[in-house]
């Protein structure tokens, strides 16, 4: 099954993917930041990912690959 993979350094931490994921498995970091200074998105439960790419459809920065 294809899975979502976040490109941590491209993510701006907007949270749009988090609310669009039907499985509710995307979470923003609370403390860690990337080189741009943003809390970034992580897949909290990769097993539960159904590869639907709803997260990739809404991500404004193409920070998510699904493959």
């Amino acid at each position: 099954m294809p899975k979502a993979k976040i490109k941590k350094e491209v993510c701006k931490g907007c949270g749009l993917c988090v609310v669009n994921c039907p499985k509710k498995i995307l979470k923003l970091t609370e403390r860690e930041i990337n080189a741009m200074g943003y809390n970034y998105c992580q897949v909290s439960d990769p097993e539960a990912c159904i590869g639907c790419a709803m997260c990739a459809a809404i991500c404004p920065d193409c920070a998510i690959d699904v493959d």
């Binding site: 294809p2 931490g13 907007c14 404004p60 193409c62 493959d67």
Partner: protein, 248 residues
């Protein structure tokens, strides 16, 4: 097979847009449509003045940069000397509906065979949040700090409805980016607007509702909720004109 990879019709230059600004989503949809239609190699885009002023850095296409509001005029010139190319203008609502209102209306009325992608975020984003022609009644902007008052500021312009009255356009639609489903739907209309040009049918415009979290002073998630709950009721989604079909 990958379900989703970033299209090669976008460059790897990080976009300067604020976190959660759906300008980035619309760039991607345009790029994906051009790639899928197999015309990226012969496409020329015209960037506006506004937050999308650097669009030429993000599209892996031949691009030109127009003076404020003049993108449809520039696109007209490019298309007329290079009719074999696919030519599009990408413009915000300050650019397209205020300073460039004349260029927009006349390119549409002439039925110029170009595609226009119109970003309606109800505000002047780049310059710090001034009122746009599309700002909703009651919405705050730096130039209407107590909210847009029709007695002082007049009424918001529904560009798609207005242009659909003209005989020139072949396709006019309004779409949104408020959630993933809306984005997938938006892509179909953007694709159709490029197909119209490829088929030689004349002026096609897609108005895309986006948020401006920074100048609306909202989180990206709240901004898109606002689009869904407050903006769409004033700017209904749908196809307003399609010369190939009966609409509305």
């Amino acid at each position: 097979m990958p379900v989703f990879h970033k299209t090669k019709v976008l460059t790897d230059v990080p976009m300067h847009y604020c976190p959660g600004c759906t300008h980035g989503v619309v760039h991607r949809l345009v790029a994906e449509c051009l790639e899928e239609l197999g015309v990226a190699g012969k496409t020329i885009g015209v960037a506006p003045v506004g937050c999308a002023v650097f669009a030429y850095n993000y599209f892996n296409l031949d691009m030109a940069e127009a003076a404020h509001g003049r993108a449809p005029a520039m696109a007209t010139g490019i298309k007329r000397v290079r009719p074999e190319c696919v030519v599009f203008a990408y413009q915000g609502d300050g650019d397209l509906a205020s300073i460039g209102a004349a260029e927009t209306v006349h390119a549409a009325a002439r039925g110029e065979n170009i595609t226009v992608i119109f970003i309606n975020n109800g505000i002047y984003g780049m310059t710090g949040g001034q009122m746009a022609p599309t700002t909703l009644i009651g919405a705050k902007a730096t130039t209407c700090p107590y909210g847009r008052d029709p007695k002082v500021n007049g009424y918001p312009v529904r560009v798609s409805e207005m242009l659909a009255q003209l005989d020139g356009p072949s396709y006019i639609a309004r779409v949104s980016t408020h959630n993933a489903r809306a984005v997938l739907d938006a892509k179909k209309h953007i694709r159709r607007a490029f197909e119209k040009q490829i088929e030689g049918k004349g002026f096609a415009l897609v108005e895309v509702l986006t948020g401006c979290p920074t100048n609306w002073a909202m989180s990206p998630v709240d901004a898109l909720k606002y689009v869904e709950e407050q903006v769409i009721p004033y700017y209904p989604l749908g196809v307003y004109k399609d010369t190939d079909k009966e609409v509305r």
